[in-house]
């Protein structure tokens, strides 16, 4: 029997740093203006004379180089600090707040530079997957538990899911959920080796889509039973499951993906016809978009609500996308719009779903957020800012 959530779990504080900037107002304004910041990253490490696009973080004057340990922690700590300030947490609330950390690359970016001149660095020196969350705890004087999710592109979405559930159950009062993935050659070259990286522009759901363009970023939210902000978003529920079709792709018919969406809706106590819009995972790969659209049609039948994808604004930030896209989507709605799927031009009759081609004016609603990843991971979240 599905048990439904009892508590509203509010986004009490949030902060993001992504290719569009590091202040939420700036990021939302850029989304409204349909701006992007993409760079070509050379593949000279592989002795190739071409590059591939990537949504890099703009590096500010005076900041450490983007491949340094100092930069890694500066971005992480500054983003978490902003979320804590935004949430107006007291010192006691900070101290007792558990950390839910989700990432695909975890600490790989910290080790890569050393590999240029050394071997087996990771197995000689890695402190383990849980270390980054512990570093956050040490830096901010947090004495509560640390939970690190490494479920590929659903990592930080799973962090949101479990933090919400534990708050709802009364096991914890509040939680800091962080999604963080910085550029790594491992991820960049790995995606290129899979022939998944597309040339610009990024075109999720488009008939002429050619794949993924990666991005980097950090998102942090403080989830709590209460919020000082009127009209704040709250997480209603979520679900997670495994699609065992293949380690790299999901069942193209969308059965497993549909089951996860339906599970999330059931736990939120929301019927499909009450969903005002869907933030799709929308990676732009042929298989992912096809699978997701088939799943959406199974859940919503002929009444699919407005659908959009956000990755063409900030790139596919892999494990961090759970929190980053939660912030981008909810802040855009609070600003009165759901962004169009940037780059989309030509409908694909095979998908049978046309995403938003123009921004949709909407300031409140109940929304379904989808996240899927390698290793069969599927996660869906239901959020709302309706009273």
């Amino acid at each position: 029997m599905i048990s439904q959530v009892k508590e509203k779990v509010y986004i009490r504080g949030k902060a993001v740093r992504c290719a569009l900037g590091e202040e939420i107002g700036t990021v939302v304004a850029a989304m409204r203006d349909h701006k992007v910041h993409m760079e070509e990253v050379p593949l000279s490490l592989i002795n190739l004379d071409y590059g591939r696009p990537y949504y890099r973080l703009p590096v500010n004057e005076g900041e450490a180089p983007s491949n340094s340990e100092a930069f890694f922690y500066a971005v992480l700590y500054a983003t978490v600090e902003k979320a804590i300030v935004d949430a107006q947490l007291t010192p006691e609330e900070i101290e007792t707040m558990p950390i839910f950390f989700g990432s695909t690359s975890i600490d790989i970016p910290l080790y890569e530079e050393t590999y240029r001149t050394a071997s087996n660095v990771l197995s000689k020196t890695s402190s383990g997957y849980g270390n980054i969350a512990n570093e956050i705890a040490n830096h901010f004087g947090i004495k509560a538990g640390c939970y690190t999710f490494t479920t590929a592109c659903t990592s930080s979405a799973n962090g949101v899911l479990y933090a919400t559930a534990m708050i709802d159950q009364g096991a914890i009062e509040r939680a800091l959920v962080v999604g963080y993935d910085l550029f790594s050659n491992l991820g960049f070259c790995g995606f290129e080796a899979l022939k998944l990286i597309a040339p610009p522009p990024y075109r999720p759901f488009d008939k002429n889509r050619l794949g993924v363009i990666m991005g980097e970023g950090c998102g942090a939210v403080v989830l709590d039973r209460r919020s000082q902000e009127e009209g704040a978003f709250y997480c209603m529920a979520g679900a997670n499951a495994c699609d065992t079709h293949s380690v790299t792709t999901h069942d193209p018919e969308g059965h497993a993906i549909a089951a996860v969406m339906q599970d999330a809706l059931g736990r939120a106590g929301v019927s499909a016809d009450r969903i005002d819009a869907v933030k799709a995972h929308a990676t732009g790969s042929y298989h992912n978009d096809l699978t997701e659209c088939n799943g959406l049609k199974r859940v919503f039948g002929g009444q699919v609500p407005p659908v959009t994808g956000l990755k063409s604004f900030v790139g596919h930030t892999v494990g961090a996308c759970g929190v980053i896209e939660l912030i981008l989507f909810s802040e855009a709605v609070k600003a009165g719009f759901i962004p169009a799927t940037l780059g989309f031009e030509t409908p694909d009759e095979e998908l049978g779903i046309t995403p938003l081609t123009r921004d949709l004016a909407l300031a409140s609603g109940t929304f379904l957020l989808n996240y899927f990843g390698f290793g069969g991971n599927c996660a869906s979240l239901v959020i709302s800012n309706k009273e």
Binding site: M1, S3, L45, I46, N47, P98, T104, E112, Y115, R116, S119, N120, V121, L122, S123, K124, S126, G128, Y129, G130, A133, N134, A137, K143, A144, G145, C146, Y147, T148, F149, T150, T151, A152, N158, Y162, A165, M166, D168, Q169, A171, N185, L186, C189, G190, A193, L194, N240, A241, C242, T244, V247, T248, A256, A259, R267, G373, F374, G375, G376, N377
Partner: protein, 297 residues
């Protein structure tokens, strides 16, 4: 935080612990005893995960909605090293399946695929407390009705680096036998047919709070006390005073050390004892304590 879900009944356990064997064929042959799937591209971490999980699920008639929680400290070290070597030293793209396998959740995927499980699937870590925190997630999912049946395991490759081990733990590497392992529990909400129960998972910022918690517990079976690697002699003495009638149980000496030692202590206790209670106290590098209470009927 204390998780006292009364419905975490242990129906089986399975473990695969030993000295690393270089030849992957050894692992593939072992796993092939439990599954007909061929894991041509599987690596050591994946095969280790399968060896423990498949033993645990073997002939248990587990349902398709069974959840998988794979807890690990380090995940897939081998393929990650291979891929970084390919990129930085050979200046080549990684082999696609080497790259895919750097994401450790591929191991929990293969566990689900081999056992045909479509339920929740989480690869999870929490520095030195991964297994205990993973049990918190299991409890959370069971409490919300998302999971009725779950496989939860601790999986880690062996630590070969003396330098890393001694820096991480401030312990003498040569005092330990290094092994690799994959130790799993099959947990159901249903009590009928259970061989034991996870009766509590609790975490404390200070040992005094752990002692206070222990003093409020009552025990109707003999208590075995096991400790994590970072527990100091003073910590152990403090716990010993709180549980004066308990008997020490040193799973690390018995089985060897790998980073999922708490999971190994749980399965070794279930294997070794009947009608007993395990109290396992673990400590992380922040000085936090996690306490696990397991009953064996």
């Amino acid at each position: 935080m204390t998780t006292g879900n009364p419905n975490m009944h242990i129906h089986n356990y399975g473990s695969f612990v030993g000295h690393p064997v270089e030849e992957m064929k050894y692992y593939k042959e072992d796993v092939s005893r439990y599954t007909r799937l061929h894991f041509r591209r599987a690596n050591r971490f994946v095969l280790l995960s399968l060896a423990g999980a498949c033993r645990c699920a073997h002939e248990q008639g587990i349902g398709k909605k069974t959840a998988v929680y794979l807890t690990t400290e380090n995940g897939n070290l081998g393929d990650t090293e291979t891929v970084l070597h390919q990129i930085f030293h050979m200046h080549q793209f990684p082999m696609p399946y080497n790259f895919i396998n750097t994401m450790s959740n591929t191991a929990s995927f293969y566990v689900a695929q081999s056992l045909e499980l479509l339920g929740r699937n989480v690869t999870f870590s929490s520095k030195l407390l991964s297994f205990e925190r993973g049990l918190e997630l299991t409890s959370c999912d069971m409490e919300m009705g998302a999971v009725e049946e779950a496989l939860i395991g601790g999986v880690d490759e062996a630590s070969f680096s003396k330098e890393q081990f001694e820096a991480k733990f401030d312990r003498n590497y040569d005092d330990y036998t290094m092994v690799e392992g994959s130790c799993w529990l099959l947990i159901r909400q249903r009590a009928e047919g259970a061989l034991g129960r996870v009766s509590a998972v609790a975490s404390f910022a200070e040992i005094g709070n752990a002692v206070a918690w222990l003093k409020n517990e009552s025990f109707d079976r003999p208590v075995k006390v096991a400790h994590g690697i970072l527990m100091t002699p003073e910590d152990k003495a403090t716990i010993g005073r709180a549980l004066p009638d308990a008997t020490p149980f040193d799973a690390i000496s018995e089985k060897g050390y790998f980073d999922s030692a708490a999971a190994c202590a749980a399965t070794t206790f279930l294997e070794r004892f009947n009608s007993a209670t395990l109290i396992h106290i673990n400590k992380d590098t922040r000085g936090h304590y996690a306490l696990l209470r397991i009953e064996k009927y």
